[in-house]
Each structure stands twice: as C-alpha cells, then as structure tokens.
C-alpha cells in the first residue's frame, strides 16, 4: 500500500542549522500520526515540508506516491490548521470556510452549502455570519478546522492545534478531533510538544530531537519501551538509570528506564530495595509526586493520593518490579 506521507532521507537545513536532518518516515493512509518533541526539534519544519511551505534541502518527500519536491502549497491536496488559526479577519466565518472552494472557482451557492456542512461537522452551525473577531478561541479553532476540511484534503496537518486552549477545552477537543478523524478516515498529522496529547490521541508517535526522529511507535511502545534516554525522559519523564545501577538489578550493563509510577516507596529498613532519602513531595490532585535521592541518583516516583508518606528528609526504601525496569538500546 502507498504511504500517505513518505520521507526518504529528507533534510531541511537553514545555513548551518539542521532543522530536519535525514529523516525517514512513513505515515499510513488513515493514520492519526503525532510528531512530538521539544521546541526547535524539527517537528514543525517536518509539517511545513509536507504542507509545501518549505522545500527539502536534500532527500525526497512523497504524498500518496507523488513526489512533492517543487510542488507549491496551493497544488497539494493537503490542508493545514495553523497554530494561530490564521483566519481571515476581513471575511465572515462562512466566507472563511468557503475560501478554498472560492479560489478553486466553485460558485457561491455551492461553496456556501459546503461551508455550512463543514461548520455543522465541527458543531458550529449557524455561525457563518459572524466575524472571526467575535468568536472565542475554541470556536476559532473549529472554524480553522472546518476551513481545512471543506477542501476534502488527503492529509490534514495540525500545528499545535490545542496549544492556545485552556485545559478543559483541550480535553474536549482531543476527543472530538479523534472521533472526527475516525469518521472522516483522513490521515491526520499533528505536531505537539505535549506528550500527554500525543499519547492520548495518536495511533503512532514520532519523537523528535535535534532534527532527527528518536523513535517511532505506538503510544504504548514509546511510553513503556523507550529506546533512548531522551525519549524516556521527554515522554512522561521516566527515571533514567545509569548502566552501573541497572547492572545490579538486571545483570546487563545498559541504560535503563523506570516509570515513576512503577516505584513503590516504603519505610526504611523494610526489606530488600534501594535505600533513598525523600527530598520533597508535590501534591498533584489524584497523585502525589515524590522527589528522591538514592545515593546521588535523583529519582522521582508517583504514588496515588492518600498513600501514607514519610516526612520530607526521611530515609525511605524503594522497591519495584524487575520486569518494569526497561533496558534501552542506547549504548552504555
């Protein structure tokens, strides 16, 4: 099957800055794909390469089997939801949504009907006559989504789509985007720096750092089986364990990772375990986050709220299930 989006050793360099460096990537049709990484990691440049706002310095990119190098954005069957939404302030909502059809020469009745349908799809029916300036942030986001979807793109690109929304709205939009993607069957590629968002929404996640993809896999892969220290640390802030420490428990001299929720914290001298000192506790609502110091090794653990805890500064004993200790590929 042809990939929806395919990168073959694609690079985008700005002078000496390697924004995207020899990236190989295959996104399957109908997939909800997340590009996750810190700012400056190259994920947005990757998105812009797909949209056509950037051209690769070397390597090649194809979209549904067609080579995309040199094809301008307006000749690609790909649409983008911009981070700042980029709605046109001089047009009302209906004309904003109908814009793509207007420039393609669709007549007024036809494009307005399609725009109304797209607005209904994003649950904003009847908002057509308003100006973008009269809408809330969440509503503008939906208009931006409708404006992209009305063109029936083969690939929909979303650049930090939920970044500007507040927490509650963000959670609602996550679910809505996911069900919309399922219903439409369009390939969604979205960029985010929020690992929670990537893990909860995407079918597969690519973790970016320094213009390279560190790991591609399902959210579970990425979360449970990080390949490198960077992935372990960035996705859900795992405890990264040095080879010497890992050797004591697994017999192998390799970097390891241990999720904070896999660590159990008990009173000192309560049997086998790693002795440590409780540095601080941080109440997070449903859970409590503990900062620990095991002989100079900084660890953190997450325990359910209500767990009886020693006082800060006291000695504790840490235990964990051996099988939760994940060994990484990264050479020691």
């Amino acid at each position: 099957m042809t990939s929806a989006v395919s990168f073959q050793k694609a690079s985008r360099h700005f002078g000496s800055v390697r924004a995207v460096d020899a990236v190989d990537l295959e996104i399957a049709p109908g997939e909800f794909f997340a590009m996750l990484g810190p700012s400056g990691s190259g994920k947005t440049t990757c998105l812009r390469l797909i949209a056509g706002f950037e051209q690769p310095t070397s390597g090649s990119i194809s979209i549904f089997g067609e080579r995309a190098e040199g094809v301008p954005p307006y000749r690609r069957n790909v649409n983008t939801v911009f981070q700042d939404y980029a709605l046109f302030p001089h047009l009302n909502v209906l004309d904003n949504v109908a814009y793509g059809l207007m420039v393609k020469g669709v007549g007024k009745p036809g494009r307005h009907k399609a725009a109304e349908e797209a607005l209904a799809l994003v649950r904003l029916p009847g908002y057509g006559a308003r100006r973008p300036g009269q809408l809330s942030g969440g509503q503008r986001q939906r208009v931006a989504l409708a404006r992209a979807l009305v063109n029936q793109p083969k690939v929909l690109l979303l650049d930090e789509p939920l970044g500007a929304l507040d927490l509650k709205l963000r959670e609602n939009m996550q679910e809505e985007l996911k069900s919309l993607q399922k219903a439409l069957g369009i390939t969604f590629v979205f960029v985010t720096h929020d690992q929670g968002e990537a893990l909860s929404m995407a079918d597969r996640v690519a973790v970016f750092n320094d213009g390279k993809i560190m790991q591609i896999g399902t959210p579970e892969d990425i979360y449970q089986r990080p390949k490198t220290r960077f992935v372990a640390d960035f996705v859900g802030s795992s405890n990264v364990l040095p080879p010497d420490f890992v050797q004591r428990y697994s017999g192998q001299h390799r970097w390891g990772s241990l999720r904070p929720e896999s660590i159990r914290v008990g009173r000192a001298a309560s049997g086998e375990g790693v002795s440590a000192r409780l540095v601080s506790t941080n109440y997070l609502g449903a859970t409590t986050k503990l900062a620990l110091d095991a002989d100079g090794l900084r660890l953190h653990a997450i325990v359910p709220a209500g767990t009886a805890l020693p006082a800060e500064g006291e000695a504790v004993m840490l235990t964990f299930n051996r099988e939760h200790l994940h060994l990484m590929d990264e050479p020691a």
Partner: protein, 271 residues
C-alpha cells in the same frame, strides 16, 4: 491618564485651549474674508467693501486652470506610482529577510527626512547630468520620491499587524500568489493604502520646494500662488483659489479619516 472623562476641566485651561485653536484657525478664516474684499492691490483690514466678483474673475483666468490641472495630474500620477512602489517595497521589507533589508528600509524613508531643498538640488543636478529636459515627468519623479515614503510607512505598519500565517493559509487553501494578493493581502491593507494615498496626494498637491527645482517654466498651483502674491493686481484671486481648494480637499480628508478609523477597529478586534 485619567479614565473618567466626566470631570470638567478648569476654566483657565478651557480658555487656553480655545486660544490655541483660534491661533491655528483664524488665519485661515482671514483668507476666506479676503476672498470677498473689494481692494485688489493689498490686503487691508477691515475690508473696505465686500464683493463676489473675484469668483467670476478666477473662473475666467486660464492660468489658474492650467496650474490646477498640472497639480492634479502630477499628484495623481505620483500617488499612483507611490502606491505601487510603496506597497511592493513594504511587502518585501516586512515579509522577507534578506541582506540589506534595514538599509533599504532606511533609504526609502530618507527622502522625507531630508530637507526638500537637498532633494530638489540633487534631482536638478541629476537631471542636467543626464541631459533630461524639465517636463511633466521630472515633476512627477520629484514628487514620487516623498510620496513613496508615505505609502510605504502606512503599508509597513499594516503589514506588521497582519498575521504572516494568513498568507500561508491562503496558499494552503489553494490560492496562488495572485489570488492571495487579491483576496487576502489587498483587503487587509486597503484602508492603509487609502490613507497613504490621500496623504501622498495632499503632499504632492502643495509641494513647493522640490517642485521649484524640477519644474522648469511650468507652474503647479502652489508655485502659481507664490508668484501671484508678488504681483499687485487681482490679489483676491489667490484667496478664492485657496478657499476652493481647501473646501474641495476637506471632503476626501474627512472620508479617509473615517474610513481608516473603522478599518483599524476591525483589525483591532480581530486580535
């Protein structure tokens, strides 16, 4: 700043403000009054008598019509040139980064910062070096140097406030460069161009210094007025012309004021 405007200002301040406004506008009223005086050789106060004969005299003077027509044509062409070049230049400076961008920005603004007499002398010597005879086009060229600045400044300010991703969004939705300019860029900068164009037209219309160096024997309206003041006959004709020009230009200036004010409100509420 105090936010409640309900409190009345003290009487002294009111009088001072009134005096300031009178000082600014009384001389203009004086011009109106002298347009109706019966004394034609000098301006005497109070006017010995009132008459409307100067309107007819002005209407029948061909030199007035020639000067007016030359000024209008020069201002229109200079403004048109300024609109095209100013928009292109502001788009380049505010949309892209390239070597020498800051320098270009400075060089474009320079003509309005330079004293007109320098621009005038420079243009005159350039024209004589290149053996270009004085014509309608040498005046237009001289005026365009500062008209471009006005349009450029207005357009650059507007470009700075419009989101750059809007142009990308338009391209993303299938619009090519021309469609994007027509449907997205132009509507967003239209009021800025209108304001800049009006200002450019007005600047060109009353320009004297650069014009004296680039006009040769031709007379634009302001130059005609200057010459007329030296001559001791039919003086009130100048006042009639001044008055009519003032009243005619007031309308578009008011229109520009209201149009751009509304435009700014729309742009502002989109933020």
């Amino acid at each position: 700043m105090r936010s409640d405007g309900s409190q009345s200002a003290p009487l002294g301040l009111k009088i001072a403000a009134a005096c300031g406004l009178l000082f600014l506008h009384l001389p203009i009223l004086l011009i109106f009054v002298y347009a109706f005086t019966t004394e034609e050789k000098s301006f005497v106060w109070p006017p010995p008598g009132l008459t409307t004969q100067w309107f007819a005299v002005t209407w029948n003077r061909p030199d007035v019509w020639q000067a007016l027509s030359l000024s209008v044509r020069v201002a229109a062409i200079s403004t048109a040139i300024a609109l095209v070049l100013g928009t292109l230049c502001s788009a380049a400076v505010s949309r892209t980064r390239f070597f020498g961008r800051e320098t270009i920005s400075l060089l474009v603004i320079l003509p309005i910062a330079l004293p007109g007499i320098i621009t005038g002398i420079a243009l005159r010597s350039a024209f004589s070096l290149a053996d270009i005879p004085f014509s309608f086009w040498t005046i237009v060229l001289g005026h365009a140097t500062f008209c471009v600045v006005v349009v450029y400044n207005n357009a650059v300010a507007r470009f700075r406030r419009t989101s750059g991703s809007m142009i990308e969004a338009s391209m993303d939705l299938g619009a090519d460069g021309f469609q994007t300019f027509r449907h997205v860029v132009l509507p967003n900068i239209a009021t800025a161009l209108l304001a800049g164009g009006m200002l450019a037209f007005a600047l060109s219309f009353d320009e004297v210094i650069v014009t004296t160096f680039t006009a040769g024997q031709q007379q634009t309206l302001p130059i005609w007025m200057l010459e007329e003041l030296i001559r001791p006959r039919q003086r009130p004709v100048t006042n009639v012309v001044a008055m009519v020009v003032m009243l005619v230009t007031l309308l578009p200036i008011l229109a520009a004021y209201y149009l751009t004010r509304d435009g700014d409100q729309i742009a502002g509420s989109g933020k």
